[in-house]
């Protein structure tokens, strides 16, 4: 049995950190509480669980100088319906719509999805493409770190003892015309992704790729990026032929594994097929 503490502000969090050495921090608990419950032996759990979801300053979304600051404890449901997110970063709600189920989206938070650092985290490919910057705080102050440097490996994020993630910063000025997310799971809801891909694309009026950013989930220890694939597509139309040329480059960028949900070979092929499917946008300049 563990105590669950519900601090109301950051000051209270720091006080808890001062007092207890063995703490486990969470927000929605959709991942952590399931893990704790499945090991039912009482004394294997940490001494103190610290739930951040009641901290008001971690729960708001605001705009500052062309940047949007999302509190780490904003739920996926809230993000889905928030005009700032919907209008400026449509790729994010496209991904979040496929995350878990309504109850999971009502409880789970964006900060939680990041700190869990799963390669299958549904919000992560979009956040990588949006160059999300993370605000990490401790009693000593704040630091900022790009999401790609924060997430180090499966389940492993660059969070020091005494630190918490308090906000996610996104730059508003992007001129992408296509905001794309696709996920392959084993059913239509409540399915952890087997492979996913997010894309931000700017096509010229002639349908030529001017800018493109791509990210894949569940096919590498962290979100997979490939500047090689992006480079080869720039200046070309999104045709099947062109996209197929990029397939070998993608192969080098990903390193999927066999697990309980799918085999590596399937993930590898599907990751490439998701890329080739971008040809559906060939000739469409806005989606």
């Amino acid at each position: 049995m563990s105590d669950v503490l519900l601090p109301k502000n950051l000051h209270e969090v720091w006080k808890i950190f001062d007092k207890s050495s063995e703490t486990l921090v969470y927000a929605g608990g959709t991942d952590l509480l399931v893990k704790l419950a499945s090991s039912r032996v009482p004394h294997s759990t940490p001494n103190v669980l610290v739930c951040l979801e009641n901290i008001e300053e971690l729960r708001n979304i605001r705009e500052t100088d062309g940047r949007v600051r999302i509190g780490a404890c904003v739920t996926h449901s809230r993000l889905l319906s928030h005009p700032l997110i919907r209008d400026n970063f449509p790729v994010l709600p496209k991904a979040l719509r496929l995350l878990g189920s309504p109850p999971v989206r009502n409880m789970g938070t964006l900060g939680g999805n990041i700190c869990t650092a799963s390669p299958a985290g549904d919000a992560l490919p979009a956040l990588y493409l949006l160059d999300a910057e993370l605000e990490i705080s401790s009693q000593k102050g704040s630091r900022f770190i790009p999401i790609g440097q924060f997430i180090k490996g499966p389940g492993y994020a660059e969070l020091q003892s005494g630190e918490i993630l308090i906000a996610i910063w996104l730059d508003k000025n992007n001129d992408y015309t296509i905001h794309h997310f696709e996920k392959v799971g084993q059913r239509n809801a409540l399915a952890i992704s087997i492979a996913s891909m997010a894309a931000l694309i700017k096509l010229s009026s002639e349908g030529i790729v001017e800018k493109i950013r791509l990210a894949w989930g569940s096919v590498a220890p962290t979100i997979a990026l490939s500047s090689e694939v992006e480079t080869v597509l720039i200046g070309k139309p999104l045709s099947q032929v062109v996209l197929n040329e990029a397939r070998p480059l993608l192969n080098q960028a990903i390193s999927p594994i066999d697990d309980i949900r799918a085999k590596a070979e399937y993930r590898r092929t599907v990751a490439a097929n998701l890329l080739i499917r971008l040809s559906r946008y060939n000739g469409h300049d806005k989606v």
Partner: protein, 783 residues
């Protein structure tokens, strides 16, 4: 068709308000004063000798009230079929799967009980593991049960007609193999129970069960109590689908702990324990050889089936028979040979699940029939129509189709799905498939040999005549038997639906074998109908004497007495009733004599007005060994058309449309019948596309959660066009027969046939995950 006041309608379920408001109470919602919590110590090894058990540390933990092992529980063997009692409450010499029960603790709260369990020390000596049923039957393999040296728990060999000779006459013969994976019942409510042993030596067990009767018998036998001292009752139950149709470990352990401590004891499975206890669908390995004539006439079927039984027999003896017998229909098939083998392995015991042993055999065969139709250049729906049995046909294994609306089902789905416009005309990536199936309306015999009634019912009128109490031991586990039986009672008596109050699922209310084998509408229904008619006759007879009007000149409808030959002066009865109930709100009024006034007259004469009903099937034919598994008073049947889309880049299958027609004989509650059809289809979708219990090399279930053991969500199910066919079953109450399980039979093969139509791939291994289909398509493209 005859007009009915209550049945054949769409009345809301009796428990609708409680369910939609969350007021319904399930076992784990209940507490008792002074209640203890029980927890199990289960084996972490799949096959091992127990060298030593030390419970001393657990006993010393404050808050612990009792610790029990085989030493305290005894070694009385039990199981489902008396032919294979192979379980004891706790393991004594060895453990046979991960989860096998070794000890239990009762403590003041669950946390203490769990901590005490972790303090019990067990020393094991590991034994070789047998996880593969084919390895298990090899010569020299270690015996999981000493009495079964080759690990064959049961085998069945049946032949009807002469298959080898018949195959020689066939124009076309083909053999196919098919395999599924071990399933979980995936009911939402884990098993839970509270046992209360009182100072007079009565044990009351409240449990999440499908069958209070069998649990009562098992608990009494294993714990050495007189049957009459054991009462088993169920509150709301959140699904069962088969695995809850026999006594489980916690029912026995909680009872034992309560007897020893004198306090109520609650035990509830975690979801992982549900997966470990299992008793759900087996893994089947079928090899089917079918012979036909050029014109599509079915001549012979040879069926060889190996089943992974898991560590204990559970329902397996019945399952291994059903794996053969349920292919005897719905097609005319003169020759059928079956060889079935059920092997013990070091995995959770497999048992019964919706459609019992027939679902995978059906999936295998209906897909093979599709292949045969294609080879013969026939429309698969036409092939089925050509061979279809009709009312009055008897199968080669002696099943009597006393009603059989199979042809109507096929025609309904053909026309309802637009089959003719779609078959063969869909673009690549889209497909349409058809399949049929049938199922029993109740097992013809109890699971133990007995002359017992299968269902009894009692209807008691209240003293004021205004309430009709129906008592039945039938189990409503969410499927709606309380509603159906209430409607039947109201119809039989002639009163309003809301005047009948049902009390059910309690061994004190009578005998009922319970909610399994799709039996309650037909069997419990017969008993309730009879009890209702008994009450009706008793009331009318007393009224007849009182008013001097012949019984045949009266009727009861909607709670009113109908005098067929004109007005009758009943003012004396009315003024007496009103006088006695002055000050109460429900005085009778109006021009008609009410049922409650009539019932009051019957009360004055009899004191107690009780209607009685009881049912058992008559002689059902079939004298061969194993005939008891599959013979039934009636058979439901169904046909389905499924349409799918396949994403060629990922293998993802989307079910676009399902058209299902089911012959339920006569629909007592039409909405409920459709609900059962939809539920069956949803379960079939899960088994076809997603569900598989996975094991690691040590025999541990690696996906014991609904996150990684995937059943369909609302987003995975299409709308279902559910078409009710009514063939008026002569052996059913008002013509009713089953819908609960038969509707799942065609689902899996109809999906498989649709996938083939979409992709050209025949998948003979379930589940057809996106990955499995994708890799098969990739393989095919290579060739």
């Amino acid at each position: 068709m005859k007009e009915y006041a209550i049945i054949n309608s769409r009345l809301p379920k009796v428990d609708a308000w409680a369910k939609v408001t969350g007021d319904a109470r399930y076992t784990d919602d209940l507490t008792m004063p002074n209640m203890l919590y029980g927890a199990l110590l289960q084996s972490p090894l799949a096959h091992a000798k127990i060298k030593r058990i030390d419970t001393s540390k657990a006993e010393k933990l404050p808050g612990v009230k009792d610790v029990v092992t085989a030493k305290e529980a005894g070694l009385v063997k039990y199981g489902v079929s008396p032919a294979r009692y192979d379980e004891t409450i706790f393991c004594d010499q060895k453990v046979r799967y991960i989860g096998d029960e070794i000890a239990a603790v009762a403590a003041v709260d669950l946390e203490t009980a769990l901590e005490a369990v972790s303090l019990i020390e067990v020393e094991y000596e590991e034994l070789p593991l047998l996880l593969d049923p084919f390895e298990a039957r090899k010569e020299g393999a270690i015996a999981i049960h000493d009495d079964f040296p080759n690990n064959i728990c049961a085998e069945v060999h049946q032949e009807f007609g002469n298959v080898e000779e018949a195959l020689k006459t066939c124009d076309y013969i083909r053999t196919d193999k098919f395999v599924n994976k071990k399933q979980d019942g995936a009911f939402l409510e884990p098993q839970s129970c509270i046992a209360t042993y009182d100072l007079n030596g009565n044990l009351t067990l409240t449990s999440s069960t499908q069958t209070v009767h069998y649990v009562q018998r098992t608990v009494a036998m294993v714990l050495g109590l007189p049957i009459g001292k054991v009462r088993v009752t169920k509150p709301c139950v959140g699904g069962g689908f088969g695995p809850k149709a026999s006594a489980n470990t916690i029912e026995l352990v909680a009872s034992l702990l309560s007897m020893r401590t004198g306090r109520p004891v609650k035990m509830t499975f975690t979801r992982e324990q549900v997966f470990q206890h299992s008793r759900a669908r087996h893994q089947f390995f079928h090899e089917l050889t079918t012979g036909v004539m050029k014109d599509g006439t079915l001549i012979a079927l040879k069926n060889v089936c190996h089943m992974d039984g898991g560590a204990y027999s559970s329902f397996g003896i019945a399952t291994v028979y059903y794996g053969g017998s349920l292919l005897g229909a719905p097609y005319k098939l003169p020759n059928m040979k079956y060889d079935g083998y059920r092997m013990y392995t070091n995995k959770p015991a497999n048992g019964a699940q919706r459609g019992h042993g027939g679902v995978i055999a059906r999936a295998a065969w209906e897909q093979q029939l599709d292949v045969i139709a294609e080879e013969l250049g026939m429309d698969p729906l036409e092939l089925r129509l050509k061979n279809m049995m009709k009312k009055g046909d008897v199968t080669c294994n002696d099943f009597n189709m006393s009603s059989f609306g199979m042809e109507e089902c096929l025609e309904a789905i053909r026309d309802g799905s637009g089959w003719k416009e779609k078959k063969g005309k869909l673009p690549k990536g889209k497909g349409i498939g058809v399949a049929c199936g049938f199922f029993v309306s109740g097992a013809g015999f109890p699971i133990y040999r007995s002359e017992t009634f299968h269902s009894t019912a009692m209807i008691k009128l209240s003293e004021d005549g205004g309430t009709i109490n129906l008592y039945t031991a039938a189990a409503d586990i969410g499927q709606g038997s309380d509603t159906v039986l209430t409607m039947m009672a109201a119809e039989a008596i002639g009163v309003r639906y809301e005047d009948v109050r049902v009390s059910s699922g309690d061994t004190d209310f009578g005998v009922d074998l319970g909610a399994y084998s799709s039996r309650q509408t037909l069997m419990s229904g017969h008993a309730v109908k009879q009890a209702g008619e008994d009450v009706r006759n008793q009331v009318l007879e007393v009224l007849s004497r009182n008013l001097k009007i012949p019984v045949e000149d009266m009727d009861i409808k909607q709670g009113l007495i109908i005098f067929k030959k004109g007005k009758v002066d009943f003012s004396g009865l009315r003024s007496q009733y009103i006088k006695e109930h002055r000050g109460w709100v429900d005085a009778p009024s109006g021009d008609e004599l009410t049922f409650k006034e009539a019932a009051r007259v019957a009360y004055f004469e009899k004191g107690v007005v009780v209607g009685r009903g009881s049912y058992k099937p008559g002689d059902l034919g079939g004298k061969y060994k194993g005939a008891a598994v599959g013979t039934s008073p009636a058979y439901g049947c169904s046909a389905q058309v499924v349409e799918v889309s396949v994403d060629m880049d990922t293998g993802k299958i989307t079910i676009d449309n399902m058209t299902d027609a089911h012959d339920c004989g006569f629909a007592i509650n039409r909405t409920n019948v459709e609900g059962q059809m939809q539920g069956s289809l949803s379960m079939g979708v899960g088994e076809a596309l997603y569900e598989e219990i996975k094991f690691d090399a040590k025999g541990r279930v690696v996906n014991p959660t609904f996150g990684e053991y995937r059943i369909p969500t609302a987003l995975d199910m299409p709308n279902v066009n559910a078409i009710i066919i009514e063939s008026n079953e002569p052996n059913g109450p008002w013509g009713a027969k089953e819908v609960g399980e038969g509707a799942i039979m065609p689902t899996i093969p109809a999906i498989l046939n649709a996938i083939y139509d979409a992709t050209g791939i025949r998948v003979r291994e379930l589940p057809v995950t996106s990955e499995r289909l994708f890799m098969a398509m990739k393989e095919k493209n290579k060739k």
